[in-house]
Amino acid sequence: MSEPIYLDNNATTLVAPEAVEAMLPFFSEQFGNPSSLHSFGDKVGRALLNARRQVQALIGAEHDSEVIFTSCGTESDSTAILSALKVQPNRKEIITTVVEHPAVLSLCEHLEKDGYTVHYLKVDKKGRLDIQEYANLLSDNVALVSVMWANNETGTLFPVEEMAELANEAGVLFHSDAVQVAGKLPMRLQDTAIDMLSLSGHKLHAPKGVGVLYLRRNTRFRPLLRGGHQERGRRAGTENTASIIGLGQAAELALANIEQENTAVRRLRDKLEKGILAQVPYAFVTGDPGNRLPNTANIAFEYIEGEAILLLMNKAGIAASSGSACTSGSLEPSHVMRAMDIPYTAAHGSVRFSLSRYNTEAEIERVIEAIPPIVSKLRKLSPYWSGDGPVEDPAKAFAPAYA
């Protein structure tokens, strides 16, 4: 079989070879502790500053000291949310959305048990928010708004810049989980009212185990981890130097390639989507196709189930992911698909193709060829399907007793 094709870049990405190369010395000769005074540490300290500036450039922050290195996107999210609550003990409400990543959603659900009120903004069938609903919720009781910039499953973008302005006018802190956006869309945080923003190294061709919390200067803050003076005392713990250097390098590459993400990668994504939809009936794009990340196509294949699709794709050497219940590890169907009110016979068959600048035209052509027979093979097994189309009135023809 030819080389496997990786179309699961919203899950994680290949570490850019340039990033690997930049990291290597920091596993060997450059082992010093950046906090040390001597030359071993000093060199590493300078390299960290360089990485911080590379990240600063990618996100368009005003100061390099607004970049705090963390261990992952989840840590950045938790730090931001818990800090906002800590600095405003009298504000007991949080505003977020129903389609957030579990890194935010699970924490919010946990905070509800501790007595906080969480407002979950709903989405419509295309995964869009109602800004009026949001504006009405802003008040002196709200400690923080946390809204993702792009949805990881559908790629749908939220108007976080506009929402941050509204929060700012209402005197409410604003955080955004931007792990899917960083490196895919241009960002200039200094021109926004966003107070805190999370990003994750491994989503933009840096290694796993490193993330960033952007913290606007003068934003009131309380650290999650206290200890040493690393990251100016805002995130204690000896720095993951090699990974931070890798992230810096990856950020520089991402910035240099951002145009390509929005031209070449977008074109391949569109080709893939059109190619599949032209051949496969009863399939549709979920989310808001007109306003989404350039690399993501989430296609719902009706009347079949996602894990089965992925297993057959995997056999054909194609990697993607699904919103089906059975692929999540928890058996919970995708909360994003449910929130958009996608019928369950389609939600279970949703497959997310997420590209990167490393994908090629030939790969996309191979995928376009491979998908239709996989879908028809599974539809032949489906109780909702008969011959070349769904059975008449599928919901009535097959209405099993659920237990």
């Binding site: 369950y344 016979t345 109780p383 007793a401 659920y402």
Partner: protein, 293 residues
């Protein structure tokens, strides 16, 4: 990804008896709430002998749902209805060389489809008798509904007690937060508060004679037996030497990947019941030690 056996993969990639049976005279449509999978089983039954001549499945579901459906049809073909009805979900899982704990419900769905199809053939109405909840304990595949029912029925108050009654939480212990949440909910309903430092009934400390001690160990093993037998396994006491208890795991327990975990569970229970430290060792280790000695 899931850790599917070769057999599961094989039945998924090359399903047997896919599609509806023509001129079927028994149809069973069932679905699993826990994951949204659904299955239609169609049978052609010989009215004279009540033998299943043909079986076909149509499944909307994941890899293990399709494999379980395929396995089910293979198992029941040629069987008489009454023989087929004793096929358990464990039989389907065994046929596939096991299913991941999260996926056992796929085999349950298979068994239910069979029951529904037979009821349909006999002109009866099939009613499902079990409810499935979110999986809490992955080591022993115990779901929330089961834990909640057992907590209510037995007035349980601690995680330890839940482990004694259901096995849940007796393995890696990662689900203890989930069990505490269930206890908190149920106890709150009953007007009580969950107390994490409450102790399960403390073990009595009395000096036993050797004979009393061994009898007591046997009693504890006896009490664990139904749980093991439910998984087609069993345990027998071989010898007791000081703090070491030698046992034989038999039936499905022998050679089971979970045997180590089960031994730990037995050990934990013995330690608690006997109020002393006890080490549970497979009897095979005793022979090895004797050979080495």
């Amino acid at each position: 990804m899931w850790d599917y056996s070769e057999k599961v993969q094989e039945h998924f990639f090359n399903p047997r008896n896919a599609g509806a049976v023509e001129e079927a005279n028994a149809v069973g449509d069932v679905g699993s709430l826990s994951c949204g999978d659904a299955l239609r089983l169609t049978l052609k039954v010989d009215p004279e002998t009540e033998t299943i001549l043909e079986a076909g499945f149509q499944t909307f579901g994941c890899g293990s749902a399709i494999a379980s459906s395929s396995a089910l049809t293979e198992i029941i073909k040629g069987k008489k209805l009454d023989e087929a009805l004793v096929v358990s979900n464990q039989d389907i899982a065994d046929y596939l060389d096991g299913l991941p704990p999260e996926k056992m419900h796929c085999s349950v769905m298979g068994r239910e489809a069979l029951q529904a199809a037979v009821a349909n053939y006999r002109g009866e109405e099939w009613k499902d008798d079990h409810e499935e909840g979110a999986l809490i304990c992955k080591c022993f595949a115990v779901d929330a509904v089961m834990i909640e029912d057992v907590v209510r029925a037995n007035g349980l108050r601690t995680v330890e007690e839940v482990t004694h009654y259901t096995k849940a939480g007796g393995g890696c212990s990662a689900c203890h937060e989930g069990i505490e949440e269930i206890l908190t909910t149920v106890l709150t309903e009953q007007g009580e508060a969950f107390n994490a430092s409450a102790k399960a009934a403390p073990p009595k400390k009395t000096k036993l004679t050797n004979l009393q001690r061994i009898r007591r160990i046997e009693t504890v093993l006896e009490s664990l037996r139904p749980q093991l037998q439910a998984d087609h396994g069993d345990v027998e006491l071989v010898d007791v030497e000081g703090n070491t208890v030698y046992v034989n795991m038999t039936g499905a327990c022998s050679g089971c990947q979970m045997a180590g975990m089960t031994l730990n569970g037995i050990q934990q229970r013995l330690v608690e019941e006997m109020g002393e430290f006890i080490k549970v060792v497979p009897a095979s280790a005793m022979q090895k030690m004797a050979a080495a000695g």
